[in-house]
Amino acid sequence: MARIGVFICHCGSNIAGTVDIPRVVAEAQKLPMVVHAEDNEYTCSEVGQRSLREAIQEHRLNRVVIGACSPRMHENTFRNTVASAGLNPYLLEMANLREHASWVHGDQREAATVKAIDLIRAAVAKVARAQPLFARQIGVTKRALVIGGGIAGIQCALDIANAGFEVVLVERTPSIGGRMAQLDKTFPTLDCSACILTPKMVEVGQHPRIRLLTYAEVKEVRGFVGNFEADILQKARHVDHDKCLGCGICWQKCPARAPSEFDMGVGQRTAIYIPFAQAVPGKPVIDREHCRYQQYLEWQRAGAEGKKPPECRICEKLCPVGAIDWEQRDEMITEEFGAIVVATGYKTFDHSVYGEYGGGRYPDVITSLQLERLMSASGPTLGEVTRPSDGQPPKTVVFISCVGSRDDSVGRPYCSKVCCMYLAKQSIMLKEHDPEVQSYIFYIDIRAGGKNYEEFVRRAQEEAGTVYIRGRVSKTYPEKGKLIVWGEDSLMGRPVQIAADLVVLATGIEPSEGAIELAQTLHISYDVHSFLVEAHPKLRPVETMTDGVFLAGTAMGPMDIPDSVAQGSAAAAKVCGLLSKDTLALEPMVANVNAVKCVGCLLCQQVCPFKAIDTETLRDGRIVVRINEGLCKGCGLCVSACRPGAMNLRGFSNEQLLAQVKALTR
């Protein structure tokens, strides 16, 4: 027999100022199974909590109703109080007399009081049918998976590994380093980007607790917080990295050429290659598409018609250690992890939708990332900026900002955040390379919020003599070896025409290829622009709504290097906090299945947003569902979808909810 105690909180005057508390207490005492009712000034205070504990013991209460504020506020407080008096913490029900009665009916004392009584009656009906619940403990796999080897992923992996946990860092391209490795200098300090990045890359490569999987992709993730299982596809490199010494003879002698992805197409690489000189690992991969031997094999497979292509295999002949392995195949690696960090980074906007800028049509219209490669001392031109068309050094350079940023008409309404700063940087660097260069920047607004950023833009204007023109460009066309840029100076209210040698498009930031597929397998959300979404924009910036999955860097939205590094470290701190626990307590208010009633139609599996429903085959061959309590969030969708009524939600069972509704509609 339930013995229910009802405790009504005044919440100072928050509730007592509107609701007639003595009347609510008197009415509560008349409810079935209620053996005690009292009111307190502040039930959450030390005095109030003591009174609650004493009443539980004195009246041998086995269920408690507290009429106070929202359960979001103090349910945990009171669960602990009730538990300390020896009751199961889930035999507590809160009636929200503040947000649901006194605050919303502030000027109607009678109505608020009647509603408060109704809410108490419903809570009593619900708690009378409550069952004690017990949190299940699960173990934690003390290993982290970091997806993406850019600066955010590198920082995150290093921080986790230095805290003593094992890390697997998965990178899709043949080397870690990401976008930061492609940059020449960083704003606003003009540090050499590679110089500050490569030590970290080397540290990752040599760290005893970091296992680096480059040229690999995460294909599928199963499981839940503390107990993930990931399928990682290791693509065939055709080079045995255990044997390879990274001597470089193969890529020096390889006769096949392909546009370099790392150099954004302004340079070339060989078919067996490392993306850049400081790559980690400094061992090559063979690009099957461009390799001559692979093309020869393809020709053989296709029926060997026409002219016989060269068989090549020069790398194999020259390799001093016999590391070339033509038999290597793609391989699926399955590993277990306790936590996952997604740091998949960005790609740049495809500028071809802006026909008026001439990108893709005229060779001397390039993107800012291509200019970055041209300026880099390790780039295809060894740091000498030249025009792609004729190899001459440009003297007049026009930059166009917001290409794929702040433009609703191309579906990119957001600001890419870094472009204003890198344009200032590039104009300064061009001036340093060649004092005769004159830069013009067409801009909408200058966004320079950040430490020393505004000063840096000033420096571009004052020291490098960069001319900032507020306005958009309407047309670009070639004439007599120059590119004529038509634009508008909206501050002066007049058209501008500049004869430029080089036009640079500040292409905006968008999420990497495959970010959505990854988000779907991880069951984390993404926004309309496919950026991953954090659990709370202010207070949980690197967490997701899926426990144990964290975010870092530009996968989440545009940000610069310091922000990405800070997020990498922040995500690492969250991962370490999780992995430092030996067990995790699972929330017991989750769905459960009555296997006798389940007909195995699997409708619940379709509606479950958390992939929390598995199937099992019973001994009689029937297939029924089983709840994965680690994944279930207790949303209740499966309960409402279940036709045979086999699903129920612990703590919110059908019986409890219907009793509550019945009490309210009495």
Binding site: G600, C601, L603, Q606, V607, I623, A641, P644, N654
Partner: protein, 292 residues
């Protein structure tokens, strides 16, 4: 070739080779005119099998009771959609079922000892003549355009036009007759629950008393459980001993689902149920007719 003979030949072959344990088909009933379901276990018995316009039963429902064995079943186009439904809801294993599909001329209303002449209204409006899934087809497939939604039955349109009170009266008169024998449920391929909500005591959705409000509750909840799933085989209508117009109720919901989601259940086994999914580009009430 004669449809009946084609079915017999196939059934004989399946039973003789041991491919299936039983063939579920139709035979002539005790009145000598109307067909009834037949369960043929021996090759020698296959000559009992027939197919004509009195073969109304949806035999796919019987698969629910024969899950362990390899079974062959004779299906009309609407029944074949029931097979997709059962397959999609994991109630049958497709490789255990051998489907003998029949190109359907439509079936007639049934009366004891009387040969029906008039096709059922639903059959008159029906545009699906070929089964959507089969292992062996009996009859010449009829050339069909892309599957299109049949217009709503005229009777449903009449009901829609009634003022609410009048419509309420109509359904009250229908449901008052119900004796809650649950024959509609037993005949329905969509009713697979081991414990039906009507028999549940906690919570007690439907009271045990047989009266209009309780009957009303029973038929309404059942209709909602079938919304987006009912393949309109008319089995419930046919099974009802007091002739309640369940076909109109189910047709209304099926029509709503078809209009909102461009969805007809059972056209493929892999289809996601519109009421259980959310598609990002889902536009309510707009778009091309799609079979999945």
């Amino acid at each position: 070739m004669d449809l009946s003979q084609a079915i017999r030949d196939k059934a004989r072959e399946l039973l003789e080779t041991g491919a299936v344990k039983c063939v579920i088909g139709y035979e002539t009933g005790t009145d000598g005119i109307n067909a009834r379901p037949a369960f043929i276990y021996e090759a020698a018995e296959v000559d009992r099998l027939i197919f004509d316009e009195t073969c109304g039963h949806n035999l796919a429902t019987y698969l629910l009771h024969h899950r362990a064995e390899n079974i062959a079943v004779v299906v009309k186009p609407c029944d074949s959609r029931a097979i997709n439904l059962l397959h999609g809801e994991h109630q049958i294993e497709r490789d255990k079922v051998y489907i003998i599909g029949v190109v359907c001329p439509g079936v007639v209303g049934r009366q004891w000892g009387v040969k029906g002449r008039q096709l059922l209204p639903a059959c008159q409006a029906c545009t699906d003549r070929n089964p959507v899934v089969y292992d062996y087809l009996v009859g010449e497939p009829v050339a069909e355009g892309a599957p299109a939604p049949a217009p709503p039955l005229p009777e449903v349109e009449d009901l829609e036009r009634m003022p609410p009170e009048e419509r309420c009266q109509f359904w009250r008169r229908e449901f008052e007759r119900c004796i809650r024998c649950y024959a509609c449920r037993q005949a329905c391929p969509g009713c697979q629950c081991t414990e039906c909500f009507v028999e549940r005591l906690e919570p007690e959705w439907v009271g045990i008393r047989i009266d209009a409000p309780q009957n009303w509750m029973w038929h309404t909840i059942r209709a909602f459980h079938l919304a987006g799933r009912c393949i309109e085989c008319q089995a419930c209508r046919r099974a009802c001993p007091v002739d309640i117009r369940l076909d109109l109720l189910n047709h209304k919901l099926a029509w709503e689902v078809a209009q909102l989601f461009n969805f007809r259940p059972g056209m493929t086994a892999e289809a996601l149920f519109p009421l259980a999914t959310f598609v990002r580009d889902e536009k309510l009430g707009v778009g091309e007719w799609a079979s999945s």
